[in-house]
Symmetry: C2
Subunit: 749 residues, 2 copies
């Protein structure tokens, strides 16, 4: 701070409403926008530059804007303001959300000479012309963090531009501990790494090994957001983004002692995909600085913009209390209010589904094994030879419908109902599914009618195989079919490489696609739960029919070799910052070899599985295991029946990244509370102070806990169920087994 | 021949029905498929290899097929057969088309060791495994040429594959004269070059200069098809392709004395775009050999295939009479029969339109100049300030409707009717048009009603700005709107770079897109005339609602600096081989400065303009000039009123590439004939023997000819109209001025 301040000219400072956070903006180093951030006087972000490199385009009309928006700026205006509003989400962790911040908007003017194309010849002459461009950098400072974004007003010299790279820096104050995923243009399903920042490069090879699911990494110090860190002096710091709409998803590239250029090509790594990596011409920041790295399109560029427009918000959350990381609404608050006029058709949902048995390998999505490959318009499905393993058959779906109807579940997901699964993945097939033709053993009409008779709905499944052009071509008919048969929710999937080839899951065009699907779905009153799509950034506030995403390593990996027991104690700090995850919890029979040839096993106790319905907030909750497995443990399954998935209030009682999380939530429109606690492989004793209950009122308390000898590997199904009456002011101490947890229901009397 | 034959093993020969053409297949050089072709004993194609290089894919499942289909083949089977059928096109140059060929199908087996991925680790081990793959090379030999294609049956070791490059060779027997366009992934609107094959490299720089419209050339000897050539011994040879459906468009790369590798990167040429050019590992063919070069996708690959499938047909037409090049139906015959059950709604069409005045610069497509840029959802068009130059306004459109109704034209094209033209081109805007919202001065409902009252229709215009994703998103609503208001034809446009970025106009995915639009249009009973789309390859036989394409340098270039007078004497030999062109002829006022600020001028006489309605066959014919210009020459315009655009018979009377073309056509369902002759800058005296007329019958003959002093530059509007009665057996000698031509109507009495 002392060193940095003398460099600054005309610094502007804005503080959070409670004064804990201070943010200072200035121009340094030849007119480069620079900011820094403190929390209770401690440096959170040391002086860091802001700016964008623009790409030169072959079209003269675009060439107007090819000079970078990196330096040469002057401050033209600064505006400060305050905002305080309380709003109600359509669904969420709390009934009310307060959006309270102080704002600093800095208008910057850049006067530059630009190369201009003169004439229209084959080798047009270059000349220099003066241009004047204006951008605004807007900061919103909350009590639990800040957001900043670039805004580009419409103006003569900045109408259309191509982004070569965004250079938003986050200079960390020390060698923090970080929970990170390798930066990847196509997946975020890796196991989280925990290390010092200085250790990222050394750990990177291990982090991207094939078993860890990496596909397209770009730098040996590239990591994903939301990135959770902890400093040696006890600050919890989280970097993410909000409102990433028609813009590429941001990764972070760490500058360390060995960094020679941004972006470094990953030599000798067959997973690395770096289209035309060109080091930035700008000086490297100091070590421990993260620099934004956007997901490229097929040509290596990062985005095409038209003014007026803005970037997403770049967010830094900070607190000395880890629980504040989990209760923060900063990401939601930085998104636009709901744009749907009618939201009455959007509802939180509990569901089961014909799914886990395919994931485990016991049954198949595809109907036949008869053909080496299929073309949808050339198969007579009624004559195809059934393989006898097809999961989505009439009998089985009826069984699931009955189970859902009998056990308070709202919907039944059925995967593999539609033709095309015979050769759906990684074949570069464009016309892979039509989303309307059922397999011959799936009676679309009769099954929906049966479900509706029993008071439940089927939940639609659209695996796109990442052939997005094909999905968009069929979207209208697919949604019309859903409306016709009474579906109101769809789980979409984006497995495999994007078609058109060369594009990536997290590019600007794909982010546009995901949102296009959500908007089209809203027109049909359809809720969307997108798997393998980009990580969410709070846009469910604006489009609350986006009720879920996967975008992380979900329960399916318990069948693919397993995830570490601390995985679910990390996700709420990272992946869940941007929006709910369809984690598909509820595996009661964790040793898959008990009922299949799969030797993988879930690293969790049965009581721990119940806890996830609280610690992994989502308006969409699956009971993922098989009905026959639940029927062996109906006393425990009672909690899944009882637990809400929409809330009037949430209180994070205990939290430490990768160690434990304890949360109490009040069910929407009721006086009932539910409490869940989840811990890592070391176990934990939760202390639950019941001070959130109504004073003087009695509650019927049911505690689903690990048995004393429970253990995620050795004894996962050992649990106890205890009932008692409690009231406010009491304290419950609950022992969680290694890889375990607990769940409590508190029914107001 | 003598040198080549000893190398061949088990050669198979098939001849054309009349015996003039002979085609021989063999395996040479280590099992490489090889063919050669003669015409009346003269070499047309010297021994030439066939094969495909496949790309290695990161997915193990695809990796099965990564070894090339280039060599190591054995002949497993050969089949010969004959075919003779006469079919009737929905529209065309003749009522009947004979499809008569002898066929040779060679089944080839390739036994190879392939590298196989073992395991699924990050660095999977490679092992060798045996694979057996079968392909079929099918030859169809006609009296006027041949077609060959690769067929890939479904089989264990060849299910999905990526094409790195197709290596179909065409070894020319000498240093022919060629009429060529620079090979380009995105345009075919250049002026044709005429040179020896050996001169292509030296002329290439001139050929691609900016004024010649090149965009994305790939090799200094790369040329486009259809490529017309003439040998020193008087053979006319044409190379093209037929039935290019879901496959990349083929270019040709010439091997000359300086060729060191295929593909050569174009150093120092700012127009060159060569993604990852990698020379083929296979030996270079002899000089004067053309090798196929497919249009790449954004990643540089050429195609993704799933068996069973085929390539398009690669065609070589040959004759010692240039007229046979024009009357050939080889390309149509190699396409599949019509797939539309009901074609009653498809009809040839004469039209005028609000278009030429925008091309010339006198009025504008866009409605307002108020904004630096627009976003469709953020403009209140009723409040936008009109620029006063908007062409597609109610008053003007009514004027055109009246002109069409009064003068026997069927439809009125209106460009610029829909919002979005303010910043439509080359801005990388995805959401550029919605195709349903008219500008405020275009009353969609009233104008259609008025047109229908007057017995004409409006012709829809959908400029996509090459934002294909946007067009596909709006296609359903756009066609529904056309149906609602009574449009039955659409002119589409693909100006500018393809979005998604990195793709090209002639790639596999774009060819799929164009056909997707045609198929979707057919469902709505809509005819399609696609501009800037890929060059046609006869698929109008299969989908006859594809009534036109641009895909070459059209009349618009007469306003952009002009085209050479011989241009229209070349197009029928080249561009028109694959299907009709919407050339938009009929410019009567050739000096644009007479009525605008545009100093460009059309290199054609007025009588020559009339000739184009016959020499440039199309079921869609525009009268492109302004109504007020036609009203100055109503006696000449009478021919445009009278001339048919669908035919029972066509006779090419005279032809020489780039020199002259004379053709007589019999109007469909009548006894009337029309004759047209067009020549280059040197003039020509046409000799029209009226032996095609019914014997003993009298015809009212009207001759629209160049006046004696006519000249395309000095005196273009000097024409004579002569009426007389003629009968079969008579001969007309008609003098065509430099850049001129003539037109004759022969009305049976």
């Amino acid at each position: 701070m002392l060193l940095a301040l003398p460099m600054m000219a005309a610094a502007q400072t804005v503080t959070s409403p409670n004064g804990n956070i201070s943010l200072t903006f200035s121009l340094t180093d030849g007119g480069r926008p620079t900011y820094e951030m403190t929390y209770k006087g401690k440096a959170v972000v040391k002086p860091s530059h802001l700016g964008l490199e623009l790409a030169r385009d072959k079209h003269a009309s675009m060439g107007l804007n090819e000079t970078d928006l990196m330096d040469g700026f002057q401050i033209a205006d600064t505006q400060t303001s305050s905002f305080d509003e309380t709003w109600q989400p359509v669904w969420g962790e709390t009934r009310d959300i307060r959006n309270h911040y102080n704002e600093l908007a800095v208008t910057l003017r850049q006067l530059k000479e630009k190369p201009v194309y003169k004439g229209s010849g084959n080798e047009p002459g270059l000349a220099l012309d003066k241009q004047e461009r204006t951008i605004i950098i807007r900061f919103r400072v909350y009590d639990d963090g800040m957001g900043l974004r670039y805004e580009f007003p419409q103006q003569r010299d900045l109408n259309y531009f191509l982004i070569k790279e965004e250079h938003t820096e986050f200079a960390m104050a020390g060698d923090h501990t970080a929970w990170w995923l390798p930066g990847d243009y196509d997946t975020q399903e890796q196991e989280t790494q925990q290390s010092r920042l200085s250790e990222i490069r050394g750990r990177f090879g291990e982090a991207v090994n094939w078993g860890n699911s990496s596909v397209a990494v770009f730098s040996p110090t590239g990591v994903q957001t939301s990135l959770q860190m902890k400093s040696d002096d006890g600050l919890y710091i989280n970097i993410h983004e909000a409102a990433c709409l028609d813009y590429a998803t941001m990764h972070l590239e760490l500058v360390d002692a060995q960094t020679k250029a941004l972006t470094t090509k990953l030599e000798g790594n067959s997973n690395a995909y770096t289209p035309n990596p060109k080091p930035s011409p700008y000086p490297l920041p100091a070590p421990f600085t993260f620099v934004s790295h956007l997901t490229p399109d097929a040509t290596g560029l990062k985005g095409a913009m038209q003014t007026p427009c803005t970037t997403p918000w770049r967010t830094v959350m900070v607190s000395d209390d880890a629980r504040d990381m989990l209760s923060s609404n900063l990401i939601l608050n930085l998104n636009e209010p709901c744009k749907l006029e009618d939201t009455s058709w959007i509802h939180p949902t509990k569901y089961c589904g014909v799914w886990w048995e395919m994931i485990v390998g016991k049954s198949s999505w595809n109907y036949t094994d008869e053909f080496p490959g299929i073309k949808l318009d050339q198969i007579d499905w009624t004559k195809a030879k059934a393989n006898g393993r097809h999961g989505a058959n009439n009998e089985k779906v009826r069984r699931y419908i009955d189970f859902a109807a009998d056990n308070g579940l709202d919907q039944v997901l059925v995967e593999g109902w539609n033709v095309g699964w015979e050769d759906w993945a990684n074949m570069w097939k464009r016309d892979v599914f039509d989303f309307v033709t059922p397999y011959p053993d799936f009676d679309l009409k009769a099954l929906n009618e049966y479900a509706h008779q029993r008071g439940v709905k089927l939940l639609m499944h659209h695996e796109t195989s990442s052939s997005t052009q094909n999905y968009e071509r069929h979207l209208h008919d697919a949604f019309a079919l859903m409306n016709r048969y009474g579906y109101d929710a769809v789980k979409t999937g984006y497995v495999g490489d994007i078609i058109p080839r060369g594009d990536h899951h997290y590019s600007q065009s794909m982010n546009n696609h995901y949102l296009y699907v959500v908007k089209e779905a809203a027109k049909h009153h359809i809720m969307v739960n997108a798997h393998e799509a980009t990580r969410p950034t709070g846009i469910c506030r604006t489009y609350p029919n986006m009720v879920g995403n996967e975008s992380a390593r979900g329960t399916e990996y318990e069948a693919f070799g397993g995830s570490r027991p601390d995985h679910t104690c990390i996700l709420p700090f990272t992946r869940l910052q941007g929006g709910p995850m369809d984690y598909t919890p509820g595996i009661f029979v964790t040793k898959l070899s008990e009922w299949s040839d799969n030797t993988s096993w879930a690293r969790i106790t049965l009581a721990g599985s119940l806890a996830l319905y609280l610690t992994m907030y989502s308006p969409l909750q699956m009971a993922a295991d098989l009905p026959e497995h639940y029927e062996r443990f109906m006393d425990a399954f009672q909690f899944i029946r009882d637990v809400a998935c929409d809330w009037d209030d949430s209180r994070y009682l205990e939290a430490e990244p990768a160690d434990y999380i304890t949360v109490a939530r009040k069910a929407k429109g009721t006086d009932n509370w539910f409490v869940g606690g989840k811990c890592d492989e070391n176990g934990h004793t939760a202390v639950v102070k019941l001070d959130f209950l109504d004073k003087g009122r009695k509650y019927e308390c049911t505690i689903y806990a690990d048995a004393p000898d429970a253990h995620y590997e050795k004894n996962p199904q050992a649990y106890t169920i205890t009932k008692r009456t409690v009231k406010a002011g009491q304290t419950l101490k609950i022992k969680e087994a290694p890889g375990g947890g607990f769940a409590i229901s508190l029914m107001a009397k």
